[in-house]
Symmetry: C2
Subunit: 431 residues, 2 copies
């Protein structure tokens, strides 16, 4: 039933509401900015070098070079590249990064097939929605066992996007999902290494390969996802079919996507949002800053006195000092050894305390700032709170500008808005 329902949804996706399609455009911009900004990361260079040495059919664009390569290779490279900074979007229903798995597959196949820009965006939306729903079906046990939903659920989403782009009927769409079931992979035990972004590349490349093979007549087990000893049963899947299919075709789980607005550990974001919502006092007026957060973050991102940019990305005290001093927490270069050594920032972070509170959820934080005159300013934030689409757009534009410059961000946004051809989109990603 799961694959059958998803396959019908892929073959005949209903029109999405304008707000959902706007959200997709925003994720496209966010993804493009992350990929362009990540193109010099070592994992990106390594994967790109391998695929460029293979060369071959110049159908699909790559972040970081004007060379074009076959779709499978482009999907691998662009997936790894756009996830390299870990700054791309996240969906918390299954805890996965749908854009970095699905968009590279959709773009590469759209370039190869000469699809229209509208078809590319529609297929990307179909694929992302399928990845989230497969992720919900696999559930928390799948994630907790050690599978990286970005790689696993993402592969099904990439296949779904490709199936939609190629105009597959429901049977072919089921075949693509069934085939990718034997190849979908990605482990969380690679976190902290180049293996994490690579997992996003795997998802994209696996989806592309499944679609190309099914298009040529490959006949797999079309129920490879949920059959006995299928992907779900063998990968600690919960088989939450009710949740996975609820409202399919009417409600879009993709609407709940989160975008990162700070280039640091996700555990710090609620705190930074709370700070961002306050009238910022002058740093010299601040006597004390008290941050309250969920206990699980205390071992993840509570480095008291980081000395490096990487350390700063995991430090409540440092990012709070940066935010209160007007240093952009959205910009990659703010997380630097120089800022960690800055006397004013060091003095301010010494006045920050961090406390855990079980009563908060993982997405919540509270901040109380005591000024030298005794005034107390406080604020709280929940990352799960909805954000109006116009506010989201403005913030993603700021983020994209911080990553790739205002002009380039505006140019890419214009291409997205006018539903430019996949080739035009591809050209906009290269240096």
């Amino acid at each position: 039933m799961l694959t059958e329902s998803l396959a019908r949804f892929i073959a005949d996706t209903p029109d999405a509401p304008e707000t959902t399609r706007q959200m997709l455009r925003l994720s496209l911009l966010d993804w493009a900015a992350c990929g362009i900004a990540g193109a010099d990361e070592p994992v990106a260079r390594i994967c790109r070098e391998m695929v460029c040495e293979e060369a071959g059919l110049g159908e699909a664009s790559l972040f970081g070079t004007a060379e074009r390569v076959p779709a499978r290779g482009a999907a691998l490279v662009n997936g790894a590249t756009s996830h390299a900074l870990d700054y791309d979007d996240t969906h918390f229903a299954h805890i996965g990064h749908p854009s970095v798995a699905v968009l590279p597959a959709a773009l590469a196949l759209a370039q190869g097939a000469g699809a229209s820009g509208a078809d590319l965006q529609a297929a990307a939306l179909t694929g992302i929605e399928v990845s989230i729903r497969v992720g919900v079906w696999l559930g928390r046990s799948h994630y907790q066992t050690g599978f990286h939903q970005t790689g696993t659920a993402g592969a099904f989403g990439a296949a779904a996007a490709g199936a939609r782009l190629m105009g597959f009927d429901a049977d072919q769409s089921a075949a693509a999902l069934g085939l990718v079931a034997t190849r979908a992979s990605g482990l969380k035990s690679q976190f902290g290494t180049m293996g994490k972004p690579y997992n996003a590349g795997l998802a994209a490349a696996n989806g592309v390969e499944a679609v190309l093979l099914v298009a040529k007549g490959f006949v797999p087990n079309p129920e490879g996802l949920e059959c006995a000893q299928g992907f779900g049963p063998t990968h600690a899947g919960e088989a939450n079919e009710g949740a996975a299919l609820e409202g399919l075709g009417e409600a879009w789980l993709f609407d709940g996507i989160s975008h990162k607005f700070h280039a640091c550990c996700h555990g710090l974001h609620a705190t930074l949002e709370a700070l961002g919502g306050m009238n910022r006092p002058a740093p010299e007026d601040v006597a004390a800053v008290a941050i309250t957060t969920h206990p699980r973050w205390m071992t993840v991102c509570n480095q008291p006195a980081p000395e490096t940019g990487l350390g700063a990305k995991f430090s409540y005290r440092m990012v709070a000092a940066m935010a209160l001093s007007g240093v952009s927490t959205a910009a990659l270069e703010s997380y630097s050894t120089a800022n960690c050594a800055d006397p004013a920032l060091r003095a301010l972070r010494e006045r920050v305390t961090v406390t855990a509170d079980e009563a908060l959820s993982e997405t919540q934080a509270r901040v109380a700032i005591t000024l030298k005159d005794g005034t107390v300013l406080d604020a709280a934030h929940d990352l799960d709170a909805p954000m109006p689409v116009e506010e989201r757009k403005a913030r993603i534009e700021v983020k994209a500008a911080a990553l790739i410059g205002e002009a380039r961000a505006a140019q890419i946004w214009a291409l997205i808005e006018e539903e430019a051809s996949p080739d035009a989109m591809g050209r906009a990603l290269v240096p």
Copy 2:
């Protein structure tokens, strides 16, 4: 400890005894014959078409075409192609098909690297040994849960062969094993479809990719195989470390490899071997044939009256009638609609009965032939019984000749014996 030990073994493989190296040569011939004979199977054509359309760097040879492609693509195609007939070698310690996973990776990387023929054979042996030992470490629970060891353990073996070929040190070898851990995959729920041979291609291609990336400086979690939430723990692995490492570097588990001498379901082979060991009576003298086998095969390969070649591959009665009539059970074309319709064969198969006996193992069978004069001939066979290497060589030569013709089989054997260059080996595989 597991990866560390395997990595040291890869970086510094001790010389294998001549009997083991002879076994490797025999598996190379067996593999080449299976791949050449399988090149027109649909799964082979489909995968080859995809990879040839990608084109690119012409470094590695493909079964079925003179075109050459990048190593990753060649590994995928040649893995799927050589497993397409399901006639390649098997290792029962872990239940996997090591040659179809490892040899395509070794050959493709050896061609790409311009390695010597001796290096190719040595690396292939290292890789196969690692695949079997990783498979033993993963154990029966891994297989019973639904993982296809050919795809999973095979990927580690393919990576090991590549690491050896590239001259990796122990750290790099560990990195290759650690990286392929996040990509190794393959499900048994694809059995009965093109997905089964495809899993062999996945193993080979995943191993090649891991090696190419590590050679360029990719830094993964080097303990991705056995660490917390590593490949073993997330894939129902038993972590049989003692068994996996026992005698590593001194004893070669590869010595226990089985080659298929009949182009039909493995459940029929003990029966056919028992029949082959008897003085064959004239078919018209046979009154009754009683076959006794392990109960598990009764639902697998006991079709009483098949009408098609595929049905004949799963029929005790049919293959017994063929063997008693002198029809080669080694030749693919013997399993035909015409033979199923042949009046003499049909008459003979009507006189065959099949009975299950719990006392037999899965590798054992008994046959009793009652002649019209009342004489009873009987025989038994256990596939696990050792076979002298000269007998094995003679039988693989007969099999290879049946698959690809005597001249071609002899030519390939000569290349293997003289340790011809990987490119010469590659050229010998193409039409």
